[in-house]
């Protein structure tokens, strides 16, 4: 079932916007300005009372429905603390993962149409993010940091490349360590879908060497969700 046809993206008409604001009015979370606006409209237009009554009924139904939902397992906190104990100190963790997640959320918030319209701007954003991520992941590598889109950037150099998606739980430290072991660098991304372009060798590889590298990447399922050949 799709309701996309019921959610146009254009601005709401004045009356429709008042109907839209009614739930926040009932919940008491409107800004003072909007609250005064709704109160004035309710006083001036008795027909808005029906919208208010409907919102009050929605409020009660949503509270009842949420209260009826399952509760977490009684050992939820114990499982969390055991995982924390196993992971060790938190300091310095999650820098790159946070950026990946933020960009993922940003991309998630864009419709395909918006993505298409964003075009060049989004590409630039992705490359800037790739720059930060590359610095975070391989900043200590001998190869100096380059913006991927710049003249002579890594993305335009000779070499062998693949496209990868990292798993959501992969930490920056683990990814950086693995890329150092592999002598690989992130040269672009993330693109839509969380795809990154990796340079896995400074020069083109034979088919056998390339396939071996791809197979090795694919086996690291703790870090890499998917890997594909890239020109």
């Amino acid at each position: 079932m799709s309701d996309k046809s019921h959610t146009p993206s254009g601005p709401l008409a004045e009356r429709d916007e008042l109907d839209a604001l009614m739930p926040w009015f009932v919940a008491g979370t409107l800004s003072p300005k909007d609250r005064a606006r709704v109160e004035a409209a309710l006083a001036a237009d008795p027909s808005l009372q029906a919208s208010l009554r409907a919102a009050e009924a929605e409020f009660e139904a949503v509270l009842a429905d949420n209260d009826a939902r399952a509760v977490p397992g009684h050992d939820a906190i114990d499982k969390l603390m055991a995982r924390i104990d196993k992971a060790g100190p938190a300091v310095g963790r999650g820098v790159a993962a946070t950026m990946v997640e933020r960009l993922g959320r940003l991309l998630q918030g864009l419709t395909p149409k918006t993505l298409a319209l964003a075009g060049a701007g989004l590409a630039a954003l992705a490359l800037v993010e790739a720059g930060f991520l590359s610095r975070a992941l391989v900043g200590s590598a001998e190869d100096p940091y380059h913006i991927a889109s710049g003249p002579g950037g890594l993305a335009q150099r000779e070499g062998a490349f693949v496209l990868v998606q990292f798993v959501d739980t992969a930490t920056s430290g683990a990814i950086a360590s693995y890329l150092r072991d592999l002598d690989a660098q992130i040269v672009a991304g993330p693109a839509a879908g969380g795809l990154y372009r990796l340079r896995i060798a400074p020069k083109p590889l034979s088919a056998a060497e390339y396939n071996a590298k791809v197979a090795a990447l694919a086996q690291r399922r703790d870090l890499i969700r998917s890997v594909a050949a890239a020109p």
């Binding site: 799709s2 309701d3 996309k4 019921h6 959610t7 146009p8 993206s9 254009g10 601005p11 709401l12 916007e17 109907d19 839209a20 739930p23 926040w24 979370t29 409107l30 800004s31 909007d34 919208s51 009554r53 409907a54 919102a55 009924a57 929605e58 409020f59 009660e60 139904a61 949503v62 009842a64 429905d65 949420n66 939902r69 399952a70 509760v71 977490p72 397992g73 939820a76 906190i77 499982k79 969390l80 603390m81 995982r83 924390i84 992971a87 300091v91 963790r93 999650g94 820098v95 993962a97 946070t98 997640e101 993922g104 959320r105 991309l107 918030g109 864009l110 419709t111 959501d168 930490t171």
Partner: protein
């Protein structure tokens, strides 16, 4: 006489320093509401405990990166939404973007079943399950989690006007579902 409760922001500062007790307090304070939000997004309690664990494990790892641009609960719900939708995507093995997620609606009770429910309130609860994920999330965040328009926009990573539009059409959809069940709620 006891002092004021420690703020969520202060707890996060302690967590960033490796304070396990602060982690337990923050979890106790928020886990129930976060879990219910996850259940709503997953349309089931199956897997909700795992997503909840992931959310708070990220809190442990990334507490130092909290920038205070929103409340801690808004930050938590934003993470929960992202992780719950990722879990759904992995479950179905299909790409799931925001628009597609918005198109996914639960197998709600059909109108015949809804009309048999005892009260209008129960019928309304049945119709809530017929909303898409995006519509249902807005409804939950406003009524149950008491989030402002700006907070909901931040959690769902869309503009404020989009949130208003979604709310308007979510309410309209509820009226349509009730009407299909033979119930006129007098609006719109």
């Amino acid at each position: 006489m006891t002092g004021a409760a420690e703020s969520d922001e202060e707890l996060l500062r302690r967590i960033a320093g490796g304070d396990r007790l602060a982690m337990r307090v923050l979890f106790a304070r928020h886990h129930m509401r976060v879990h219910r939000f996850i259940c709503g997004l997953l349309r089931s309690d199956a897997g909700a405990d795992d997503v909840l664990n992931d959310v708070f494990f990220d809190v442990w790892q990334q507490a130092g990166r909290f920038e205070g641009r929103s409340s801690v609960s808004t930050w938590l719900l934003g993470m929960a939404r992202y992780k719950a939708l990722s879990a759904r995507r992995k479950r179905s093995d299909d790409p799931l973007d925001d628009e597609l997620a918005g198109a996914i609606a639960d197998e709600a009770d059909d109108p015949e079943v809804i009309v048999q429910k005892k009260s209008k309130g129960e019928a309304l609860r049945g119709c809530l399950a017929g909303l898409s994920n995006e519509h249902r999330s807005v409804i939950d965040l406003v009524y149950y989690h008491e989030k402002s328009i700006e907070d909901v926009a931040q959690i769902m990573a869309v503009p404020v006007n989009t949130i208003k539009t979604r709310m308007f059409y979510a309410r309209r959809k509820l009226s349509e579902l009730l009407a299909a069940a033979g119930i006129d709620r007098g609006w719109p």
